[in-house]
């Protein structure tokens, strides 16, 4: 079915992600305590909350990087946390970008981007490189293709990481605090890339500490605390009139810190 290496999951349907009763523990430490969340196709959902609230773990579970303890995750109506699912097939459709970039330091930028398309999607090297160059050019990295990651600034590295994920042509992008490791002056260039992605209709779940950015870009914002979604509302509502006391307390701390 995936002979051509292209999409084999049904992309039709309105609902891209459905998470039901998701529990996840690391040893005795329960990080996710029953998460329910649905994300529509083309929707952008931002996850906010203190460090350790479970945002990153939630994203890693959706990419199947972490085995879950109970609950279920479905993509386009098909459960992906059950038996008989090939995680590699799922991951082709769900890109993830990490806080620390995680570029492959021993490969040039171009090779970082073409590795997965060439080996997993099995496109020819020439085709993979042409696609990669087009993506790099689109995000202002055309002159960096021959560089090794450690020669790039943090912002450039993170843009390459986003391009690397996009090269697999995913239908969903998960962004895990992608600007948290960046110097303040480099944050904007990465956020611009994400805005452009949102404008193209990419379905995204974004864990972020950038409240202003979340307010601008998100269709919905979820506030997480101690492994639970406390409040789930459009940004205008959540940031101006949060219903839950815990959300109010969190936002007050953010405002006091001058971050909103």
């Amino acid at each position: 079915m995936s002979a051509g290496g292209e999409a084999s999951l049904p992309v039709a349907g309105h609902e891209a992600i459905r998470i039901e009763g998701l529990h996840k523990s690391f040893g005795a430490n329960e990080v996710l305590k029953g998460i329910d969340l649905a994300v529509a196709t083309h929707e952008v959902v931002c996850l906010i909350g203190a460090s350790g609230s479970g945002k990153s773990t939630l994203l890693r579970c959706v990419n199947l990087l972490e085995p879950i303890n109970s609950g279920r995750i479905s993509l386009w109506g098909q459960e992906v946390t059950g038996p008989g699912i090939d995680p590699n097939l799922v991951r082709r459709h769900v890109g993830i970008v990490f806080q620390a970039f995680n570029l492959f330091p021993h490969m040039t930028v171009l090779r970082n981007v073409t590795l997965a398309p060439a080996k997993v999607r099995r496109v020819s090297r020439a085709e993979a490189e042409a696609e990669a160059r087009a993506l790099l050019a689109r995000f202002g990295l055309a002159d960096k293709e021959a560089d090794f990651p450690d020669r790039l600034s943090g912002g450039q590295q993170q843009r390459v990481a986003i391009v690397r994920a996009l090269a697999m042509k995913p239908q969903i992008m998960l962004l895990d605090e992608v600007t948290s490791a960046l110097d303040p002056e480099l944050v904007a260039e990465v956020l611009d890339v994400i805005r452009e992605l949102a404008a193209t209709g990419m379905t995204m779940v974004i864990a972020t500490h950038e409240m202003g950015f979340a307010r601008d870009i998100a269709h919905r914002v979820c506030f997480l605390e101690e492994g639970r979604i406390i409040e789930d509302a459009p940004p205008a509502e959540l940031f101006t009139s949060p219903r839950d006391e815990r959300t109010r307390r969190f936002l007050r701390r953010i405002v006091d810190a001058g971050r909103l």
Partner: protein, 296 residues
Amino acid sequence: MALTGSPPPGSFARTGRGARLLGGGRSGTVISTASTLVVLGALAAIFLLAPGARAVEHAFFSPPHMWQSFIGNPRQGYYSVGAAIWLNIRMFVVAEILILALALLIALIRQSTHPALFPIRILGTGYVDFFRGVPLILVIFAIGLGIPALSLPVLSTQSNAVYGVAALVLSYSAYVSEVYRAGLNSVHQSQVAAARSLGLPHRQALRYVILPQALRNIIPPLLNDFISLQKDTALVGVLGTIEANKAADIYSEQVFNFSSFTVAAILFLILTIPLARFTDRLIERDRRRRLAGATP
């Protein structure tokens, strides 16, 4: 009260002896050369002025004997040490290739996490424990004397050099697999996550992302083990194989002069020193590359 005090009086420049000794590059070279000559001179003086200096010089450093043992003379009943070292080189090269492959296999087995591979993992651990714990010379005896005694077809009819190489491979693979394992562990888990998140299966993530980085990290300790392996090919001589050390031994027994061992020692040095310098260069290059990366 002001947070910044007034500057202290006077200069920060070093004065006196320290200033001269730690001075610029040229005087540094002069000092290091002078101190080297003093140390070497002292060592030579101890050696030459010792009561037994004459006897030792004749027994170990006699130029005619060194030359005779180097070129060999079968009619006098001794072999050329210079020709015999060629066998050490061949044993070393063959053993090294086999060790690199076998050790990687053992390391990957020990690093695997699949429950079905549990018995092989136990075997791998047992293998490493055993061959790291048993002296290499005993392994050489066990293989070199034991396998022929079994009278098996093919296996029991090999030359002693083959048994020697087999023993070297068995023993060194245990050490080198641990070096590999350290290398695999030195690659951060986030690299695995990044590779797997792109849809690369475990095998491809290992091959394209993890192993290349692991190998880069372990080149210095790997070369260190291979310098050691080059020397340990001399141990195969206990089976009667005419490698450099054995040839030197035979010479000393025939002629009652140990200068042949000096020749063997010099030949081993000529083999190992270039590898040692090469290791140093790789370490230095790696260090510089990383520093360059830290401040682009």
